[in-house]
Amino acid sequence: MRAAVIIFPGSNCDRDLLAALRLTGHETISIWHKETELPKNIDLIAIPGGFSFGDYLRCGAIAARSPIFGEVIRHIDRGGYALGICNGFQILTEAGILPGILQLNEGTKFISKVVDLRVKNISSTFTHSYSSNRIISIPIAHHEGNYFASKDDLKKLHDENCIAFEYIDNPNGASDNIAGILSKNHRVLGMMPHPERHTESAHGSQDGYSFFKGLFETS
């Protein structure tokens, strides 16, 4: 599988994301946000964590309107796969690709710790290597991770099996304990936790390894 990792000024998890993708056997390419074209034959667009544009205005707001984003939207409209982690999730909601928005954590503090997640959807390419309701341990590090969506959007997410991960012990006030959501076609995933930080034995846990290993693998 060939993945393009988009980099913005202020992205800081791009190298970890590239390392996790390479470790699990994928081809990778880095794309600067000022590009207006993506190389051909990209299977997955991955948007890393960080503080794109210094979180100015709202987290992800400026990145979602950057030059490369026209291509990102075209890729997704064609049914292409995309992944946004942490700031990447914020960017996907700001671009209107995923519903809702990530608000300031309920306790107003930045939270950096390892949390337990329940895997809710096991049919997407991102999650099929986990068993249903499995509990995985993945780090979070965010200030704005409190997922908010309208009642209608939340209902749709539940009805269409779009909730990928939920927190066991909600750290930030997110609606319905939501940690990660999928698009309606289950090909775009946005999540606040960082699976790339739990892929190697030195990380203390490798619960994120199967996440990347399973991408585009047919079971």
């Binding site: 309107r65 809702g100 409190n146």
Partner: protein, 79 residues
């Protein structure tokens, strides 16, 4: 021409910053403070002579970038 855009969280949307400011004011013994909502003020200088055009243009800017209308509302005034 100069305009001021005020962006506020919509009613009913939790505002943890406003809540924290309210608690700080209460702890300074301003016990008359019942609620605080925090928003953003953005001033925009425009090369435009028609107020109507300017208003339309700023409204577009608000919808496209300045406010996230999922949780925020905005007001435009000319100064």
């Amino acid at each position: 021409m100069k305009a001021r855009v005020t962006v506020m969280l919509k009613n009913g949307v939790l505002d943890p910053q406003g809540e924290a400011v309210k608690q700080a004011l209460n702890s300074l013994e301003y016990n008359n403070v019942e609620s605080v909502r925090q928003g953003k003020v953005i001033e925009i200088g425009l090369v435009e002579t028609s107020k109507e055009k300017a208003n339309k243009s700023i409204q577009e800017m608000c919808e496209k970038l300045l406010a996230n209308t999922v949780i925020e509302s905005y007001e435009i005034e000319f100064i």
